[in-house]
């Protein structure tokens, strides 16, 4: 079974090898000049590389050619007096081993944001916000041939112009980036997981252990040419059969990324670290074409978001908001008129399109929307770990006869897609427990398109051949039907069906409640 891979083709020069501008793997889109994380089992740190080429070969599949960044720990013998910052890395340059490698796409563990702070003329300096939100920074190169650090950047690295390695220019980026349709990287909601979820625990454990094998990524290739104590890694070629094994034993593609990462975190804490670094680096490349002026003016409020205007990301995501809603994302006093302006349904749909809609499940059903709204910004803030003062809009999904009375769901609209995805990731990696031992589930919210609403099961019309005018225009008024009519007997049939369904649901809910209580008893910490 093939993993889902989508590619944007750039040229078709060579029959055997085709190169691309971007590729999506496992829900993450890797574009040219993105920075990718690779992980090798047994290593303490992950490897970071900048994609310089994405190719598809007929015999080896999709591959990423990367130029490596070195961590200070890897080149500590050559640093000399240079004292790197805590998140500083070094770009490999010149000729030698360890400059670059071509790895299988499947070895990629995610993206990270690397920002260049070099004062080189060709490098546009990042804004403070970009700097703050970047995973890594670099300002020097490491010459892999001479094994020295230098602040000077040569004109080209590994045959590519050095501008490709600097920060992207904002105006250029607009023309270069391919037009991407906003698409949800995650499957739509939990209803799609029917297939998986019906497995019982036993089967699950089996899959869990099998997953552990899979989770060992096919090792990235990196040759280190370093000091005495560091072992030079061999150029490991990823054997085809290992890839095959992974694909056959791995989860089918219905299994979404959240499940993967939950297994991932359960298997070892070391791997957890690399997953944490995954950020969608869309934000770094976001073009700041919109200025503050376009953001609706808000009256000065108490909880003014601290970084308004400073953060280019915030500005762009603010503007992304529904312009019609004069939302003020500040104090709660603004909430009351927010709701009047655009109907909730529209807002849900817009949020879904933008990818900021999250569906929370397993909440206490007696929560009200306000509580969710109040609590979640704190949660979101913890997760997002930035100065985003995330205001969320939330609404509990109302209980219907067919929704389990144990579970409460809520739709939450975040202000930015980044926050929404970060929250989902965090909720899946670790657990947010509510007061009565409920771990909160989060997934990308999706609204089902309503079907043709004219079809309503159970209402029929008879069209007799001859009808008087009056009879034709008569409308069935609401009434109780009497016993001697045929509609009564039909109605009663419906009633029996309704009663039956009510009973089914009750049984199901009881069973589910029991299962939940069983599991909860096992929790050691009883809050």
């Amino acid at each position: 079974m093939k993993m889902p891979l989508e590619l944007y083709q750039e040229d078709n020069v060579n029959r055997d090898v085709q190169s691309y501008e971007s590729v999506t793997y496992d829900g993450v889109e890797y574009c040219l000049h993105d920075c990718v994380i690779f992980y090798q089992a047994g290593e303490a740190e992950t490897y970071i590389g900048k994609i310089v080429k994405i190719i598809d070969t007929t015999d080896c599949g999709k591959q990423l050619e990367v130029v490596w960044f070195f961590r200070p720990s890897e080149i500590r013998n050559y640093l000399g007096d240079y004292e790197p910052q805590w998140n500083e890395i070094f770009l490999a340059s010149c000729e030698g081993e360890g400059l670059s490698n071509t790895n299988f796409l499947e070895a990629a563990q995610g993206k990270c944001s690397v920002v260049c702070i070099s004062k080189d003329q060709r490098n546009p300096l990042p804004s403070k916000a970009e700097l703050r939100s970047a995973d890594y920074i670099f300002s020097c190169t490491f010459d892999v041939g001479k094994l020295t650090i230098s602040r000077k950047f040569p004109n080209e690295i590994h045959g590519f112009r050095v501008e490709n390695f600097f920060n992207k220019r904002k105006d250029r980026d607009l023309t270069l980036s391919p037009i991407r349709k906003p698409s949800l990287n995650y499957p739509t909601g939990m209803l799609d997981r029917e297939v998986d979820a019906v497995t019982d625990d036993q089967k699950y454990d089996d899959k869990h252990t099998v997953k552990e094998e899979w989770v060992r990524p096919t090792s990235p290739i990196k040759v280190r040419c370093l000091g005495n104590e560091n072992v030079a890694l061999k150029f490991k070629s990823i054997s085809d059969d290992k890839v095959q094994e992974r694909i056959s034993s791995g989860k089918p593609k219905e299994k979404d990324k959240e499940k993967f990462s939950s297994h991932f975190s359960a298997s070892s804490p070391v791997k957890q670290k690399s997953k944490k670094k995954v950020r969608f680096s869309d934000e770094v490349n976001v073009a700041v074409t919109q200025t503050r002026d376009q953001v609706p003016l808000e009256p000065p409020q108490l909880n003014f978001p601290k970084d308004k205007g400073k953060n280019s990301n915030e500005a762009s995501s603010l503007v992304e908001q529904d312009q019609a809603t004069k939302t003020d994302n500040n104090a709660d006093g603004g909430h009351w008129f927010k709701r009047f302006v655009t109907p909730w349904r529209e807002r849900l749909q817009k949020a879904q399109e933008r990818g900021t809609l999250v569906l929370l499940d397993n909440l206490d059903p007696t929560y009200s929307s306000c509580e969710v709204e109040l609590k979640f910004p704190d949660v979101a803030q913890e997760i997002v770990r930035s100065a985003f003062n995330e205001r969320v809009e939330a609404k509990m999904v109302t209980q219907t006869p067919f929704s389990c009375p144990l579970y409460g769901k809520a739709f939450v609209i975040f202000k930015s897609k980044y926050a929404a995805t970060a929250v989902i990731n965090k909720l899946n990696r670790s657990c947010l427990m509510l007061t009565d031992q409920r771990p909160v589930l989060g997934c990308v919210g999706s609204l089902r398109k309503s079907d043709d609403s004219k079809l309503f099961i159970g209402h029929y019309k008879i069209k007799p051949k001859r009808l008087t005018e009056d009879a034709r225009s008569a409308v069935a008024t609401s009434h109780c039907s009497q016993e001697n009519t045929i509609e009564y007997s039909m109605g009663m049939e419906w009633r029996t069906l309704q009663e039956k369904t009510e009973r089914w649901w009750k049984q199901l809910h009881e069973k589910q409640a029991k299962e939940m209580m069983e599991l909860k008893k096992q929790l050691r910490i009883q809050t």
């Binding site: 509990m396 079907d451 109605g491």
Partner: protein
């Protein structure tokens, strides 16, 4: 936005006066509902419950607020409970229940309740259980949606059954009517020396 005990009490009171109706046709709107139930009591407010997550389920639901809890009670039990009550179409009757707190999406906060949250990390002993709970929740959701599908299938089956029967009956009757009307029945009757019923 902590609401006071008063607000909550007022809200609870409103809940008691409200009837939850479902199995409504999507074409039913507020005025129709009002007229329907006005026969039995004073309708103060109608609110439809939107359906965001299920697409196949076309039956609408609504909350109807009436004058007093007794009226609500009466309508639920006597009117809808005893006879099939039909609104805007036959023969699928509507179903009524007393409303519950969770059905209102603009409900105020229960006073005195604080939500405490804590993060459970992978090294926490409860992590495994929490993960299991999460998976259980997902499983339940899947079960629920499966059940819903089954329910819809059953409903469709019944509907088809009934409409087929209805059509057959209809044809039968029109046939008979036709035969009676154009005199062929009478002719046949006189031929066979049988008395034909004329009505």
């Amino acid at each position: 936005m902590d609401s006071t005990a008063e607000e909550y009490a007022a809200f609870m009171e409103r809940v008691k006066r409200t009837i939850y109706l479902d199995n409504l046709s999507p074409q039913v709107n507020e005025s129709i509902l009002r007229k329907a139930l006005d026969q039995y009591g004073t309708v103060k407010g109608v609110q439809f419950i939107p359906n965001y997550t299920e697409s196949k389920f076309t039956a609408r639901c609504a909350l109807v607020e009436v004058e007093s809890p007794q009226q609500a009670q009466m309508i639920i039990e006597e009117v809808i409970g005893s006879y099939p009550f039909m609104i805007l179409g036959m023969p699928r009757p509507v179903r009524a229940r007393p409303a519950e707190v969770e059905m209102f999406d603009d409900r105020p906060v229960k006073p005195g309740r604080k939500i405490k949250i804590r993060w459970v990390d992978p090294n926490d002993p409860d992590f495994q259980i929490a993960q299991k709970l999460k998976r259980l929740a997902q499983k339940h959701a899947a079960e629920a949606s499966f059940m819903l599908k089954q329910q819809l299938a059953e409903e469709e089956k019944l509907a088809k059954q009934q409409s087929d029967a209805l059509k057959a009956n209809n044809e039968k009757y029109t046939l008979i009517e036709g035969v009676m009307a154009d005199g062929s029945a009478r002719l046949l009757a006189s031929y066979y020396n049988v008395k034909a019923l004329e009505d």
